[in-house]
């Protein structure tokens, strides 16, 4: 048999995993096949790490607390809130993020003029984007007339935008800003839209809620920015005025909990889903220790009795105080989610952290005056235990990653302490993963081009948002050196890649016709990005194969050792490979696979032997081969098959070295003397073996095939 190789380069057709096709490369959502001018540009693997640098944008603004909205499979909006020294105004930054290129594009910012002009520090921040598509709308100039619409009653705001021709915002190419909402069926636009017949339309209602603490305590609390649209986030900024008395215009409203605000020690802000156009709740954790409680507001409540931008009509309730025993952090703390495991399985809960615990509070328990609103908590316990990684006692925030059904628990980064990804459990088990590492590399734009962008801790707090498996990690620094936002394909981490999320890289099936045995799988991958001095290793990957269930994607995957050894397999006519990648590691830089090659032996003469005419004999019906390539050990069992070379029929003889019917012989002196066959490896270049069948018909032409058995 001869040695063959089946190759695959990641340059061919791809399909998403959801469109499984065994003839193409299949990619999970977070797995990409990249191309480019050079061979190292052509690879497949988890999406590259992306980076945005708020402090190096057109207008440098120290930013933190990402909130990400997915617009389409390839386009996200990222909002960040200002993190610089407390001031009377705060700015909100917007980026567009392109998944296919991992590129952050800085759109611009808005400046919030708070109804209280004393120094604010943002503690929590959320963005709400809802699309109103009920009924139909027609346009004549700047006048929009609706049928079956309830624009005024739905609390839509002046300043938002409307598009016509579809209820799908992604299909709208021209948007118009709303200058007034006159009634349930009447809207006025800021610009002339011409004549548009009655039909589908979409209003994009964009608002932002922030919770702040203030230099003058009672000037803090919750503020709601209404009437936004993407174009407001302009490179030169748009200043949003403080509201005065009118609801539903582009302005900053103060959702006070009382005439004199008591929600003064905000720790963060969590937002629930919209229940209706007049009801969407946010939850603000207040108080870091003994007075810890939760304020609940309705950001879609019609705002009444607004005076100097302040109203209590959005306030719903506040729980009683319940001491969490450890200190609640004030870094965008609090996230609402429903986990599919653990004590909170299937229940919508508010998750938040103290410095050493993760807490869970079921939303149904967040009721007025309730002093037992906390459901349970999970104490920090690093993977490997505290003798492997010391307790940080510096947890800072928690994020829910629903695609992998895990919590992302960020730490303060002080002294390089790491962060976690874990299940929520109250059984004292160790957290599942620890990730990020301290290597001090700065990722500012002026860094050496050979330095590889990655989220080093740099003794900094990170705030996180995970959207569709992509982790957006913002280093909350206030200088250009330490203020970056990274995109990281957390959901592609190998521990979760095989679930319903399917974040795997699967090759097309590779044909191995007439394979007698498999030898090895060789994978070409990037070993180090950057140069020798600044270069950085990538995270590892795992390889799998399957021989069955390839066409219908039903076969089970079997892991392949890093040696690539596949000699133990019973070969088939086709084989398929799959890769999973580690993301949650130290550098978090995803691996890059260039190509792979499967080496196997087919049913032609074994590659270790060459047919020898000189040592063969037609008279004696003896077939000989020169031992040309050593095995590197004991010679495996050999098998000889003799076919009728004219008709192809046979085998006429089928014999092995283990239980021979014919005679196997061996010579180590160029055929001068022949002795009994043995399985010793090649001794020299004049080693031969030969086989004489027990019986073979006369006067036939024979093709002799020597293979491993």
């Amino acid at each position: 048999m001869a040695k063959r190789a089946a190759e695959h380069f990641f340059t061919g057709d791809t399909v998403p995993y959801s469109s499984y096709d065994a003839t193409k490369t299949m990619l999970g959502d977070l797995i990409k096949q990249y191309t480019g001018a050079t061979s190292v540009d052509k690879f497949a693997g988890p999406m590259k790490i992306g980076i945005g640098r708020p402090m190096e944008a057109g207008v440098p603004i120290a930013s933190a607390y990402p909130h990400v909205l997915k617009l389409s499979d390839d386009k996200y909006w990222i909002f960040l809130s200002e993190n610089s020294t407390a001031a009377a105004t705060r700015r909100i930054v917007m980026y567009e993020y392109v998944v296919s290129s991992s590129a952050f594009e800085w759109n611009g910012f808005i400046t919030l003029t708070f109804p209280t002009a004393t120094a604010h520090t943002i503690r929590g921040f959320r963005v709400a984007r809802e699309l109103y598509t009920t009924g139909t709308a027609s346009v004549n100039g700047t006048t929009v007339t609706g049928v079956g619409t309830a624009w005024a009653d739905s609390g839509l705001s002046v300043g938002c935008r409307i598009g016509f021709g579809s209820t799908d915002a992604a299909q709208i190419s021209t948007w118009y800003e709303i200058s007034s909402i006159n009634s349930n069926t009447g809207i006025t636009l800021t610009t002339d839209a011409g004549i548009i017949a009655s039909g589908d339309y979409v209003i994009e209602d964009l608002s932002i809620a922030v919770s702040t603490t203030n230099a003058t305590l009672t000037n803090g609390g919750v503020f709601l920015v209404k009437g936004l649209q993407p174009l407001a986030f302009a490179p030169g900024g748009t200043t949003i005025p403080a509201a005065t008395t009118i609801d539903n215009i582009r302005a900053v409203y103060w959702l006070a909990d009382a005439g004199t605000v008591t929600n003064t020690i905000s720790c963060g802000l969590a937002i629930d889903e919209k229940d209706s156009w007049t009801q969407q709740y946010i939850y603000v954790i207040d108080g870091t220790t003994t007075t810890c409680r939760v304020y609940k507001y309705n950001i879609r409540a019609p705002l009444t009795s607004i005076a100097s931008g302040k109203t209590t009509s959005g306030f719903v309730l506040v729980t009683g105080a319940q001491n969490p025993a450890t200190v609640v952090t004030q870094i965008n703390n609090g996230r609402i989610g429903t986990l599919n495991h653990g004590p909170g399985v299937g229940v919508k809960c508010l998750y938040f952290v103290t410095v050493s615990r993760v807490f869970r509070a079921e939303l149904v328990n967040i009721t007025s005056g309730n002093t037992t609103w906390q459901s349970d908590s999970m104490t920090e316990n690093p993977p490997g235990g505290s003798t492997t990684y010391a307790l940080t006692n510096a947890l800072s925030s928690v994020e829910v990653s629903d695609t992998i059904d895990r919590l992302i628990v960020m730490s303060s980064g002080a002294a390089g302490v790491r962060s976690y990804v874990t299940r929520y459990q109250t059984s004292g088990e160790q957290f599942d993963h620890i990730f990020l590492a301290e290597d001090k590399q700065l990722d500012q734009n002026t860094a050496d081009s050979d330095a590889v962008v990655h989220p080093s801790i740099n003794a900094s707090v990170f705030s996180a948002w995970v959207e569709n498996g992509i982790g957006f990690l913002c280093r909350n620094g206030t200088a250009a050196t330490l203020n970056q936002i990274y995109s990281l394909p957390i959901g592609a981490h190998w521990a979760y890649a095989s679930g319903t999320f399917n974040q795997q890289l699967i090759t097309p099936k590779m044909l191995t016709p007439n394979a007698i045995s498999y030898s090895k799988l060789y994978v070409d991958s990037e070993r180090m990005l950057g140069n020798g001095t600044l270069g950085m290793s990538l995270e590892p990957f795992r390889m799998y194969y399957r021989l069955n269930g390839i066409d219908d994607n039903t076969g089970s995957w079997v892991i392949i050792e890093d040696s690539g050894d596949l000699a133990y397999l019973v070969p088939s006519t086709e084989i398929q490979f799959m890769f999973e990648f580690r993301i949650l590691g130290t550098t978090c830089i995803p691996a890059r696979i260039y190509s792979l090659s499967l080496v196997y032996e087919d049913n032609t003469t074994d590659s270790h032997y060459q047919p020898s005419v000189a040592q063969s004999s037609t008279v004696g019906k003896t077939f000989a081969w020169r031992f040309s390539t050593a095995f590197g050990g004991t010679v495996p069992e050999l098998r000889v098959r003799l076919y009728d070379a004219v008709t192809g029929s046979g085998p006429l003889v089928d014999d092995t070295t283990v239980s021979p019917a014919g005679v196997w012989e061996k010579s180590t002196d160029d055929g001068a003397t022949w002795g009994a066959y043995n399985s010793n490896d090649k001794a020299n270049d004049i080693t031969y073996i030969r086989y004489t069948p027990l019986a073979l018909a006369d006067d036939i032409k024979v093709r002799a095939l020597l293979t491993q058995n």
Binding site: V59, P60, I61, A62, S84, A88, T89, R91, T111, T113, P115, A117, G236, G237, T238, T239, P241, A242, A243, T244, T245, I246, I249, A251, S308, G309
Partner: protein
């Protein structure tokens, strides 16, 4: 400290006018405004510094950078950051020239205080001056001097009387709301340029009066 005039145009928002009473306000004080399309409703509030200088006051993280930028367009600004930078520059200049004396700090502070006081506008005189400006603006449009053609050296020094009527003054004139439509008719769209020149003109008016 920012001097705000009722009904003046808000920077970067030509349809918005100040509703709050004329007076001197802290840089971050909230100043209410209305939309000229609906003058009976107070639409919101901006900070006093934004009313005058627009969004540039939110572009800088460093107040010295902000002060320098404001001084470039308004050398006599009473904005706190501008005032700080101006005083700082004066002291540095004295130090570099070897004229820094123990009493220099007080002198600088007093000079800045005097500058502040000079910027305080007598509202009645201001309105009178504005009204005179309006009368002059009602002359044929070809007599107007476009702002963008005014060389920097034309900026009058303190107490100098401005002879030329400047159309942009209309933008900031102190008028009663009912006069606004007429003013809008007077100001041709091409006369309204950027907010920075508008702010410059405003400063000229103040100095003229003061």
């Amino acid at each position: 400290m920012i001097h705000i005039i009722k009904d003046q145009i808000i920077a970067e928002n030509e349809n918005l006018r100040v509703a709050t009473a004329t007076g001197d306000y802290e840089d971050t004080a909230l100043i209410e405004f209305y939309d000229i399309k609906n003058p009976d409703f107070i639409a919101g509030a901006f900070q006093a510094q934004f009313i005058i200088y627009g969004g540039l006051v939110y572009l800088y993280n460093d107040h010295i950078e902000l002060g320098n930028t404001i001084l470039e367009i308004d050398p006599n600004s009473t904005h706190t950051s501008a005032s700080y930078v101006r005083m700082n520059n004066e002291l540095l200049a004295k130090m570099n020239n070897g004229t820094l004396e123990p009493e220099s700090l007080n002198q600088t502070l007093n000079a800045e205080k005097e500058n502040m006081e000079n910027q305080m506008v007598d509202t009645e005189k201001f309105i009178e001056e504005k009204e005179r400006s309006i009368e002059e603006i009602e002359k044929p449009i070809e007599e107007n001097v476009p702002v963008e053609n005014m060389p920097e050296e034309n900026v009058p020094v303190e107490n100098e009387t401005i002879v030329e009527p400047i159309p942009e003054e209309v933008i900031e004139q102190e008028v009663l709301p009912e006069n606004i439509p007429a003013i809008e008719d007077v100001v041709a769209p091409e006369v309204i340029t950027t907010e920075e020149p508008v702010s410059m003109i405003k400063r000229k008016v103040k100095r003229k009066i003061g």
